[in-house]
């Protein structure tokens, strides 16, 4: 009998064959391991993302939700409160509002690339993408730089799940708690001495004349740090992997860097690091011959929808000329990733600089170590040999 186990290391490494079986044979699948339904077809996922009234985020959006988080972050609040919370940050992270970040991002990329000069091999994740991401986030939030390393380690740990117990382990929960405390201190400090950074603006905001609750601010800040570090780094790392595995695409980008954005969009479709999120049904739904009950959770497998041949022809081919509009790499609907413009800008600059410094590289590991996670998928290490 077919099983889909989002906790197995085999799934972390390669979920795509199982996704195909899900799409073709079990489009509404009850996943024993996670205790929830799974949507894998593009159209079903889009329908769920559009219908937040039926597919609620208020009971959490992570496949394995962290304690006390649901209801207190942007991603775990439904409209109309969600829309008002989001509006507080949205305008500051639109493409046009981000021009001021271009030079700092480029400088950060060059700094870390300079440190790699002369090396024959290095780890793209730990020597480049993570470092760039952490520097950028600390700059954006004006956070104390002596905490960079520990914040990064905790952000990476808190998104993971234990492959044996199929739950968040004590180390993952401890990392989350550490981050929540770090955020609480940061919030308290910014309340006393607000700056003109993104965090200060959010922390001092009001909705309809009402101050945001401390818990709401702290957990939203926690999530922004988690997403800013883990998700952006994951996005860059899978892009690096794709360019290592597809030399013809890499050569095309080296010859014409203006193609980098197209390659990024295709990476977001082909193997987005944001593989699976969840919603909770507010009413019974009948679909593909199954009856799902109000209160049931539904996993939306973006990574499966992005490989749905019903939407994207030849979905298993990494094709940088595809221009896959409407992909689910950032989710979609009211909860689509808040950081899309920052992520695209940072990734574009990072690869402009990286490919200039290292136009030619191959990966040296046959099998990659993958983040153990029911939500995210990216390599923990990506060893490259250059030249």
């Amino acid at each position: 009998m077919f099983r889909f186990d989002p906790y197995s290391p085999a799934n972390d490494a390669d979920p795509f064959p199982a996704y195909k079986t899900l799409r073709d044979e079990h489009p509404a699948f009850w996943c024993e391991e996670a205790g929830m339904w799974v949507y894998s077809r593009y159209a079903d996922i889009v329908t769920a993302l559009n219908d937040w009234q039926t597919y609620s985020s208020a009971k959490g959006n992570l496949v394995d939700e962290l304690p006390n988080r649901a209801g207190n972050t942007l991603g775990t609040t439904d409209p109309p409160r969600h829309d008002r919370l989001r509006a507080l940050i949205q305008k500051a992270v639109t493409k046009r509002a981000l021009d001021y970040l271009e030079d700092p991002i480029r400088a950060v990329c060059r700094k870390h690339l300079d440190a790699l000069k002369g090396r024959k091999t290095f780890d793209f994740v730990n020597d480049f993408s993570s470092k760039v991401t952490v520097d950028l986030l600390f700059h954006l939030f004006a956070m104390p730089t002596d905490k960079q390393e520990i914040v990064r380690d905790k952000a990476v740990l808190m998104v993971q799940t234990d492959p044996v117990t199929r739950k968040k382990g004590p180390e993952h929960l401890a990392a989350y708690e550490w981050m929540a405390n770090f955020a609480a201190e940061l919030v308290a400090e910014r309340k006393k001495n607000p700056g003109d950074d993104l965090l200060s603006n959010f922390i001092t905001s009001e909705i309809d004349g009402e101050k945001l609750a401390d818990k709401e601010v702290q957990l939203t800040v926690t999530t922004l740090i988690m997403a800013g570090i883990e998700s952006l780094s994951g996005f860059m790392s899978v892009m690096g992997l794709n360019l290592a595995d597809h030399p013809e695409a890499r050569r095309a980008l080296v010859a014409d860097p203006s193609l980098i954005p197209d390659a990024m969009e295709e990476s977001l479709r082909y193997n987005t690091s944001a593989q699976r999120f969840r919603r909770c049904l507010t009413r019974d739904v009948e679909i593909h011959g199954k009856v799902m009950k109000a209160g049931d959770f539904v996993m939306l497998a973006y990574g499966a929808g992005n490989r749905d041949e019903r939407q994207f022809p030849n979905p298993d081919v990494y094709d940088i000329t595809r221009k896959p509009r409407g992909h689910l790499g950032f989710g979609g609907g009211v909860h689509a990733c808040l950081g899309t413009a920052i992520a695209r800008m940072a990734c574009k600059i990072a690869f402009e600089e990286f490919l200039q410094a290292f136009p030619d590289f191959t990966r040296t590991q046959q099998d990659l170590p993958w983040v153990p996670s029911s939500n995210f998928r990216s390599p923990l290490k990506l060893e490259l040999a250059v030249g």
Binding site: N50, A87, T94, R325, G332, G333, V334, T340, A341
Partner: protein, 107 residues
């Protein structure tokens, strides 16, 4: 299924049927219609799905939210009285047959 007609800046017309509840932005991107980008994924966060709504249908749409109003200030092509973001317009029976004109540029 509600029908939507998209008219590109060069006059090319596309008539498509959308599942109820899908947005006009999705209708365009999913049918390969040029002229709508939808960079933010439909969260009313980028103004790259800007359309000019045919006057006959304008009053049938719910008024834009505060966020949409703010984003409409950021459109790449000029904002007009009938400007809307197509990610905020859901295909519903009440607007069956709606016609939208796509601007010259989105970014």
């Amino acid at each position: 299924m509600p029908t939507v007609t998209y008219i590109e800046h060069d006059g090319t017309e596309h008539r498509v049927e959308l599942p109820a509840g899908w947005t006009l932005m999705q209708g365009a991107t999913l049918n390969g219609i040029n002229g709508i980008e939808g960079e933010c994924g439909g969260s009313c966060g980028c103004a790259t799905c800007h359309v000019y709504v045919d006057e006959a249908y304008l009053d049938k749409l719910p008024a834009p939210s505060e966020t949409e109003e703010e984003m409409l200030e950021c459109t790449a092509s000029p904002r007009r009285a009938n400007s809307r973001l197509s990610c905020q317009i859901k295909a519903m029976p009440e607007i069956d047959g709606i016609v939208v004109h796509l601007p010259e540029t989105q970014s």
